[in-house]
């Protein structure tokens, strides 16, 4: 996919994600209220709105520049634990798309995002954070690319990535939190899904539905 098409797609994705997050804001805050401090809904919503404004000022950006700007804005405006994790990871991963948007560079981007979350958050799978769903999502994408999926098949891959994310979110519900504020709830966190993970699931759902359209 050439850069201009990719940037246009990214813009539509960001707009759809921002609308969806605006609707899900209370739900995400409710999740973060159960096992956290009730600010994740507002944080993600604030981040999305700021990102929309920031990208507006860009002058014909490449996909890498586009995503780097979104990342930097999330770090500034979303803030909190999620802001630095989403923001820094997106900034770091966006470099993988400088050479263009291809199945291979998308895999590199997704893996870089995943690895930065692990490094920045000092987490591993099973800590009941958004990292828990990034691992299955990245693997699903890489598996389809390893098996020579072309661009159209990538859209099916995105469906499978959403399914992987959904299972990952459900998986976090059964876990005892070992990271983030939820960790203070200790055993009481079991039974509640991780808000950050559900946030990533929502974003992936929008990416898939936009790509499909």
């Amino acid at each position: 996919m050439d850069d201009t098409d990719a940037t246009t797609l990214l813009q539509t994705v960001l707009e759809n994600v921002a609308d969806r997050v605006a609707d899900e804001r209370e739900y995400l805050t409710e999740l973060d209220s159960k096992i956290g401090d009730a600010d994740f809904g507002a944080n993600l919503h604030r981040g999305c709105q700021a990102a929309l404004e920031a990208v507006d000022e860009l002058d014909d950006p490449t996909p890498a520049e586009y995503l780097e700007t979104v990342g930097k804005t999330l770090l500034d405006e979303m803030a909190g634990s999620s802001g630095i994790i989403f923001g820094m990871s997106l900034m770091k991963a966006s470099a993988e798309l400088e050479s263009g948007v291809t199945p291979e560079t998308l895999v590199a981007f997704t893996n870089a995002f995943r690895d930065n979350v692990a490094e920045r958050g000092d987490v591993d799978v099973g800590s009941k954070t958004l990292y828990d769903i990034l691992v299955p999502v990245a693997d699903t994408l890489q598996a389809s690319v390893e098996m020579d999926a072309d661009e159209d098949e990538l859209i099916d891959a995105s469906a499978r990535m959403v399914e992987a994310a959904r299972r990952g979110a459900m998986f976090t519900a059964a876990l005892r939190a070992k990271r983030g504020r939820a960790s203070y709830t200790e055993w009481r966190s079991v039974g509640h899904p991780d808000p950050g993970a559900v946030g990533i699931l929502i974003i992936l759902q929008e990416i898939h539905s936009t790509a499909e359209a």
């Binding site: 770090l75 634990s81 630095i84 709830t185």
Partner: protein, 327 residues
């Protein structure tokens, strides 16, 4: 939800605008939610900075001023401020002798400060405050939370810097305070964030939460409401045991209101705290009774003890001039 706010999303911005309009000796870095001393950076002095989510006022900006903090970055309610603003803070506080960040033990704060230090590129070090005894140490978790005891750490570190001590000395004293401070809280009602508009925690009419966190995070035990003396015995006992203070130890104490509790009730708790420490023949240097580190409108309090030696006592008495503390 009834609060004295306009658009909930603007609370932090408007609060800081009111703060700098009304308080002397502080100003706001342009286009940021960072408050610094008007005379920052103070040449030749180690910069002492901090940062964290809003909703704990007067913490942190209330402690910016002579003898205490050089600056504080404010995040959204209960949300760590972004690394970019923290790095502006670090730069603004660097008087050429390096900057020490005093960080409450929350991942968001730590992650953002780590990144900020990289961005700022000045001589930098940090200490992490984890005085909440309600959460037992455990590797399987981010460890103990940083709560009201942080104010004592600000004070002694600020005093060291004000005396012209170098960065490593300021850090040493900050860590000594951290090793000798412990706190425990109780919530009678949950806090209500402007964003959610409803209580974060649902405590029914006769339920209290012992060991609650300052963002409404769960504590160790939910029980029926008890007389103030019983609650004070429990909180003070846990804190004294954690510090294993014994006969002859000297300590400064703090009864900290969480935002919705009147001063009259804090003094009722302070009366019992003083008795308990007396009974355990712990020498009470002073007792601070007020709202120092709140949780929006949460009804409840926390008890903090800092064990003192000659050095810490002297630094504690070092004069300061900030919006909240003025002696």
């Amino acid at each position: 939800m009834k609060k004295l706010v306009n658009d909930p999303a603007d609370v932090v911005d408007e609060m800081l605008a009111g703060f700098v309009a009304c308080e002397d000796g502080v100003e706001r870095l342009p286009d940021t939610d960072v408050i610094v001393r008007s005379d920052a950076p103070v040449d030749g002095k180690v910069g002492v900075v901090t940062g964290g989510g809003s909703g704990h006022e007067p913490m942190h900006a209330g402690y910016v001023g002579e003898g205490m903090l050089d600056g504080a970055a404010a995040g959204a309610i209960f949300t760590s401020p972004p690394a970019t603003e923290m790095s502006e803070l670090i730069a603004a506080a660097d008087g050429g002798e390096g900057v020490l960040a005093i960080i409450k033990n929350y991942e968001g704060d730590i992650m953002n400060f780590d990144t900020a230090a990289e961005l700022a590129g000045v001589e930098y070090d940090q200490v992490i405050v984890d005085d909440d005894v309600a959460i037992a140490d455990s590797t399987e978790r981010t460890g103990r939370r940083g709560v009201a005891g942080t104010v004592f750490v600000h004070k002694v570190a600020g005093a060291m810097a004000d005396r012209g001590e170098p960065l490593d000395e300021v850090k040493r004293v900050a860590e000594k305070a951290i090793d000798n401070v412990a706190s425990m809280g109780v919530a009678l009602t949950s806090c209500i964030t402007p964003e959610k508009g409803e209580p974060t925690v649902d405590l029914n009419d006769d339920e209290i939460e012992i060991g609650i966190g300052i963002h409404g995070e769960p504590g160790v035990e939910r029980t029926e409401i008890q007389p103030a003396d019983e609650i004070t015995d429990r909180l003070t006992g846990d804190v004294v045991d954690d510090l294993n203070l014994d006969d002859g130890s000297e300590a400064v104490a703090m009864v900290n209101g969480l935002g919705g509790t009147p001063l009259s009730e804090l003094y009722v708790v302070a009366r019992r705290l003083d008795q308990v420490l007396d009974d355990r023949s712990i020498d009470v240097h002073d007792v601070w009774v007020d709202e120092y580190c709140t949780s929006l409108d949460m009804a409840g309090c926390s008890v903090t003890l800092l064990e003192l030696d000659d050095e810490l006592r002297g630094l504690l008495e070092h004069p300061v001039s900030t919006p909240q503390l003025n002696d």
